[in-house]
C-alpha cells in the first residue's frame, strides 16, 4: 500500500477544489454579499491543505495504482473534499457548529440534498451557489472529473473509476478511460445547460435557473428556496424539472449513444425500460391513491404524484407537496422508491434498478432449479449472460445495504430519534435522496437531529454515494495487512 501516493493524488484533487471555489467567490463579488471573506479564507485553507497533502506524498514516484490504492484515493478524496467544502459554510457563520457545516457539505457532494438550514433564503447568494456547485461536482463524481482533467490520473484511472462509479457492469465508452470520463462530463454539462435554458425561458431568474439545473442533473435536490420547487408553484417548472430528473436517472452512456444518433438507445436498454416502466406505473398508482383523498382533480393528482415519485425514485429530493399528508400506501411506495433508486451509471443513488432486476432474476432462477434440478440456467440481461462474480457482488451489495440500513436505524433510534424519523432519515441519506419521513420530512429539515446522529448520517451519505464497498473496505483488517 503506497499511502504517500494516495496523499499525493488527494492533494492535487484538493488543490483543484480550491480553484473551483473561485467561481462562487466571483458570484459573491458580483452580488456584493457577505460571502467574499469566508471564501477567501476557505480558498487559502484548502490550498494550504492540498499543498501539504501533496508535499507529504511528493517523494513517491510510483505511477501504478492497485485496486486497494484506488479505493483509498477515492474514499479519502471524498472525505477530504467534504471537509474542505464545509469551510465556506462554517466561515460564513450561518451554521452553529462545524458538524452542521460538514453535514451540509457532504450532503452536497454526495448529491443527497438533506439540509440543516432552516432559512435558506437568508443565506448569501455566493454561498448558495457553492451549495449547488458541490452537488453538480459530486453528481458525475469528483474523481471522474479528476480523471478527465488531470492527465497524470490516466494511469490507474480505471481503478479509480471503478471505485467511484461501481456499477455492476461498467461500460467503457472509449478505449481510454480519460476519454470516457471526458465524454461523461461533456454530456452531463450539455444537459445541464439545456435545463438552464428551459427554466430561464419559462421565466425563472438566471440565478435560480442555474442553481436548480446544477442540483437537478446530479439528482441532488438542493433548492435556493425555503419551500423547494413548491415555491414557484408552476406547472411548467414542475414538468421541466421532472423531465430532467428522469434524464438524470438514466445511464449517461445511453445519453451519449442517443446524442451519437442511436435514437432507440433508451428502448434497447433493458434497465432503462425497467426504470421508465417503474416510474410510469408508480406514478399512476400514487396518483390514483391521492386523487380525491388529497387532490380534487385527476390532473392535480397526476401533477403532484408524478413530481414526488420522480423526485424520490431518481433520489433527487425536491418537493412540491408534503407527501406525509398522503395516504399510507403512497407514503410506503415512496419509501420503497428510496431503496429502488435510479439506473446504474446515472447520477442517482439507491440500490439501482439494475441490481433489483438482477436480484429478481436470480430469485426466479432459484425457483426454476427447484422444478428442474439438473437444469443449467443463467441470469441474463438483454440476452447476455451475467457472470457469476457480478451476481455475487450484487447480492452482497443488497445484503450489505439492508444490513447497514438496519444497523444505522437502530443506532439513530438509540440517540433518541423516533422510529419513523430514524427509518426515514437513514433511508434518505443512505440512498442520497434528501427528505425522509417524520422529523425530516419534505417540509422539515435535519437541524433537529442530535449531534452524534448528524455524524452517523454523514457516514450514511458517503457510504451510499460510494456504494458501500469502497468505504467499508477500510473496516476490514485484511486491508491494512502487508
Amino acid at each position: 500500500m503506497h499511502w504517500r501516493h494516495v496523499f499525493k493524488v488527494v492533494g492535487v484533487l484538493t488543490i483543484t477544489l480550491a480553484f473551483t471555489m473561485v467561481i462562487p467567490l466571483l458570484v459573491g463579488l458580483f452580488y456584493r454579499d457577505m460571502s467574499v471573506r469566508p471564501f477567501l479564507m476557505a480558498i487559502a485553507a484548502t490550498l494550504a491543505g492540498g499543498i501539504a497533502l501533496y508535499l507529504a506524498g511528493r517523494v513517491d514516484r510510483s505511477a501504478f495504482v492497485s485496486q486497494r490504492e484506488g479505493m483509498a484515493i477515492v474514499a479519502l478524496g471524498w472525505v477530504v473534499a467534504g471537509f474542505f467544502g464545509a469551510l465556506p459554510f462554517y466561515f460564513e457563520g450561518e451554521f452553529p457548529t462545524f458538524v452542521d457545516a460538514l453535514f451540509e457539505s457532504v450532503s452536497g457532494f454526495t448529491t443527497t440534498g438533506s439540509s440543516v438550514l432552516t432559512n435558506i433564503e437568508a443565506v448569501s447568494k455566493g454561498l448558495l451557489l457553492w451549495r449547488s456547485l458541490i452537488q453538480w461536482l459530486g453528481g458525475m463524481g469528483i474523481i471522474v472529473l479528476g480523471i478527465a482533467i488531470l492527465p497524470f490520473l490516466g494511469v490507474g484511472g480505471m481503478q479509480l473509476y471503478k471505485a467511484e462509479v461501481p456499477t455492476p457492469v461498467p461500460d467503457k465508452l472509449q478505449p481510454r478511460i480519460r476519454d470516457t470520463a471526458m465524454i461523461l462530463w461533456k454530456v452531463y454539462a450539455l444537459i445541464t445547460v439545456a435545463q438552464v435554458i428551459a427554466l430561464w425561458a419559462g421565466g425563472m431568474s438566471l440565478y435560480d435557473a442555474v442553481n436548480h439545473a446544477m442540483t437537478t442533473l446530479p439528482t441532488g435536490g438542493f433548492s435556493t428556496k425555503n419551500a423547494s420547487v413548491a415555491q414557484f408553484d408552476s406547472l411548467y417548472f414542475d414538468l421541466v424539472i421532472s423531465f430532467f430528473m428522469i434524464l438524470a436517472g438514466i445511464n449517461f452512456s445511453l445519453h451519449y449513444q442517443l446524442l451519437r444518433g442511436q435514437t432507440l438507445a433508451f428502448w434497447r436498454d433493458s434497465e432503462c425500460r425497467f426504470f421508465l416502466g417503474a416510474v410510469l406505473v408508480l406514478t399512476l398508482v400514487v396518483s390514483f391513491d391521492i386523487w380525491r383523498s388529497v387532490y380534487a382533480t385527476m390532473g392535480e393528482a397526476l401533477r403532484y404524484g408524478l413530481f414526488q415519485v420522480v423526485s424520490i425514485v431518481t433520489t433527487t429530493g425536491y418537493a412540491t407537496a408534503d407527501y406525509e399528508q398522503w395516504p399510507a400506501m403512497s407514503q410506503l411506495i415512496l419509501l420503497l422508491c428510496m431503496f429502488l433508486g435510479a439506473s446504474a451509471g446515472s447520477t442517482g443513488g439507491g440500490m439501482k434498478c439494475l441490481r433489483i432486476m438482477l436480484c429478481f432474476k436470480f430469485c426466479y432462477k432459484e425457483l426454476f432449479s427447484l422444478i428442474h434440478p439438473r437444469a443449467v440456467t443463467h441470469v441474463k440481461i438483454a440476452g447476455k449472460t451475467v457472470p457469476d462474480d457480478v451476481l455475487r457482488s450484487v447480492l452482497g451489495f443488497l445484503a450489505l445495504y439492508m444490513g447497514l440500513f438496519g444497523f444505522c436505524t437502530v443506532l439513530l433510534a438509540g440517540l433518541g430519534v423516533d422510529m419513523v424519523t430514524a427509518f426515514g432519515a437513514v433511508a434518505a441519506t443512505l440512498g442520497n435522496i434528501g427528505p425522509g419521513f417524520g422529523m425530516v420530512g419534505p417540509v422539515e429539515n435535519f437541524a433537529q437531529i442530535p449531534y452524534l446522529g448528524k455524524w452517523l448520517l454523514i457516514w450514511c451519505m458517503l457510504l451510499g454515494r460510494l456504494e458501500i464497498y469502497t468505504l467499508i473496505i477500510f473496516l476490514v483488517p485484511e486491508f491494512y495487512r502487508k
Partner: protein, 454 residues
C-alpha cells in the same frame, strides 16, 4: 469430367462412390493412408496421399484440368484453406466446400463473390435442421422433402395393419380416394425399393412415398389415417452444433423445448445462448433424468448426440416412455437397414444431407434439386425439360421411361400436374422424377439434361 475430392471421410467416400458409379473421373486426396485404402479398395477412383491445402499436391492431382473440386474434410479451416490455395493454382475450377461453423452462415455469399470464390458453401447442419423441422411440422409422416420452392411435398408414411389400403392395388386407388390424387412414388418393402406400377398392391408395413401439392397434404394424410395433432413440446438430446441450431430455431415458434447435454461446459454455453429452452445437464439415456423431466408427456424427442448408439438407445427408451415421435441422428450408413427392424422410424443424417446437397450442385445443369431416400436406393430429382430432350412433346407412355423410374409431377407455370400415361411434357416444364440408383444414367439420357454439368 474430372472431380477432385479432398477428404476421404464418410462424406468424401460416398460422394466418390456416387460419382464413380455415374462414370465420372474422380480423384480423392487425403492425408490418411488407411482412409485412402478404403476408397481405392472399394471404388473405381484415383487416390493421392497428401494435404489438400498444399499447392504441390493439388498441382500433382491435376487440379488445372479438373472442373470441380470438393473440399469435404472434417475441418472447416482445412476446407477453406484448400479452396483458397486451389483458387490460386487454378481459378477456373469450381470449388465446393463443407463449412459447418455457424459463424460463417452469413458469409456464404461473400465466399462466392470474393476469394476464395467458393461456388457453393455447404453446411449440412442447416439442411438437417430444416429436415427435422419439416418432419416435426408433419407429425404423421416419416420422411418429408420439398420441391418447387416448397409447393410440392414428398412424404413418406408407414402403412399399419389397420390401414384401409391394406392389399389394395394401386390402380384401384383413385376410386377409394375420391377427389384428391396423390401420386404414389415409391414403396419400401423389406429393405427393397419398388417403383410401383398399377398392379402392385399395398401391404401392411410398407413405407409409402407419395407426392402431393403442399395445400393438399393435410387431406392426403387424413385419407391415409395419418393426420395427427401438431407437436408442441420437444426434447432434444445432444447439445452440439445441430442441437443448438434446432433449439434456436424452435425458440421463435410456439414450441416448448428442453435440451439435454452431457458436457457441463457445453451446457453453460447453451444456457448462455438460448433464451427460452431449458438446458439440462446429464446423460440422454439416463432414465432418472428422463423421468424427472416428465419425458413421457412430451410430444417429440430428437436425439442428436455424436454417438449413434446413445441416440438409438435414447430414442427407444423415450419411445417406450410414451413419446409420440422420435427422430434419430445416425451417421454410419451401415446402420440404416437396421433401423426399421428395431423400431426407429425417422432418421436424419448430416452426412447424407451433405452428400445430397453436393450431388445436387454437381449436377447443376438443369437439375434443380435432388434428394436421396432411405438407404440411398433411389433419388428424387427436380429438373427442367428442354426442347431437345427426348421426353418432350409425346405422351409419357411412348417416351420410354426406364423401368425403375417414374415421372411423379409436372409443374407448368403455376399448375401442378400429376401425370398419367397420356400426359405430354412441354419445354420448360419442371418435372419431378423418382428413379432407382441404377437407372439414373438412363434418366439423364432421356432428359437430355444429360451431363450438362456446368
Amino acid at each position: 469430367l474430372k472431380v477432385i475430392i479432398i477428404g476421404a471421410g464418410e462424406v468424401g467416400f460416398h460422394i466418390a462412390s456416387h460419382l464413380a458409379r455415374e462414370n465420372k473421373d474422380v480423384l480423392v486426396i487425403d492425408k490418411n493412408a488407411d482412409a485412402l485404402r478404403r476408397v481405392s479398395d472399394n471404388l473405381d477412383v484415383q487416390i493421392l496421399q497428401g494435404s489438400g491445402s498444399s499447392p504441390v499436391v493439388l498441382e500433382e492431382a491435376g487440379l488445372r484440368s479438373a472442373e470441380i473440386m470438393l473440399a469435404v474434410t472434417n475441418s472447416d479451416e482445412a476446407n477453406l484453406v484448400a479452396c483458397l490455395v486451389a483458387n490460386i493454382v487454378s481459378p477456373a475450377t469450381k470449388k465446393l466446400a463443407r463449412v459447418r461453423n455457424a459463424d460463417y452462415d452469413t458469409y456464404h455469399e461473400t465466399f462466392r463473390e470474393q476469394a476464395p470464390n467458393i461456388e457453393t458453401v455447404i453446411n449440412p447442419d442447416i439442411e438437417v435442421v430444416k429436415t427435422i423441422h419439416g418432419m416435426m411440422k408433419v407429425p404423421g409422416a416419416v420422411d418429408v422433402g420439398e420441391f418447387a420452392e416448397g409447393r410440392i411435398k414428398f412424404v413418406g408414411i408407414y402403412l399399419d395393419e389397420h390401414s384401409p389400403f391394406n392389399q389394395v392395388k394401386l390402380m384401384d386407388l383413385p376410386g377409394q380416394l375420391g377427389g384428391i390424387r396423390p401420386l404414389i412414388a415409391a414403396i419400401m418393402r423389406d429393405e427393397e425399393l419398388i417403383i410401383p406400377r398399377g398392379k402392385d398392391q399395398f401391404l401392411a408395413g410398407d413405407l409409402v412415398y407419395f407426392i402431393t401439392a403442399s395445400e393438399q397434404l393435410e387431406e392426403t394424410l387424413a385419407v391415409f389415417g395419418k393426420q395427427e395433432a401438431p407437436l408442441k413440446s420437444v426434447l432434444i438430446i445432444g447439445g452440439g452444433r445441430i442441437g443448438y441450431r434446432l433449439a434456436a430455431l424452435l425458440e421463435d415458434e410456439p414450441f416448448t423445448c428442453k435440451i439435454i447435454e452431457k458436457d457441463p461446459a457445453k451446457c453453460d454455453k447453451l444456457a448462455g445462448r438460448l433464451n427460452k429452452a431449458v438446458v439440462l445437464c446429464g446423460d440422454g439415456s439416463d432414465q432418472n433424468l428422463l423421468a424427472e423431466e416428465n419425458v413421457g408427456d412430451m410430444d417429440a424427442v430428437v436425439t442428436l448426440t455424436d454417438d449413434e448408439e446413445t441416440n438409438i438407445l435414447a430414442s427407444l427408451l423415450t419411445r417406450r416412455m410414451g413419446v409420440r415421435k422420435c427422430i434419430t441422428r445416425i451417421s454410419k450408413f451401415s446402420y440404416f437397414p437396421l433401423m426399421t427392424t428395431i423400431g426407429i422410424e425417422q432418421v436424419v443424417s448430416p452426412r447424407l444431407s451433405a452428400i445430397n446437397s453436393i450431388l445436387q450442385h454437381v449436377r447443376r445443369g438443369k437439375v434443380l434439386s435432388a434428394m436421396s431416400i432411405k438407404g440411398e436406393q433411389a433419388e428424387i430429382m427436380e429438373a427442367v425439360a428442354m426442347e431437345t430432350s427426348a421426353i418432350v412433346a409425346k405422351p409419357l407412355r411412348s417416351v420410354g421411361v426406364p423401368k425403375g423410374a417414374l415421372v411423379a409431377a409436372i409443374m407448368r407455370q403455376e399448375h401442378i400436374i400429376i401425370p398419367s400415361g397420356e400426359t405430354t411434357i412441354q419445354p420448360d416444364d419442371r418435372i419431378i422424377i423418382v428413379a432407382r440408383r441404377e437407372v439414373i444414367p438412363q434418366v439423364e439420357k432421356i432428359l437430355a439434361v444429360k451431363l450438362e454439368f456446368f
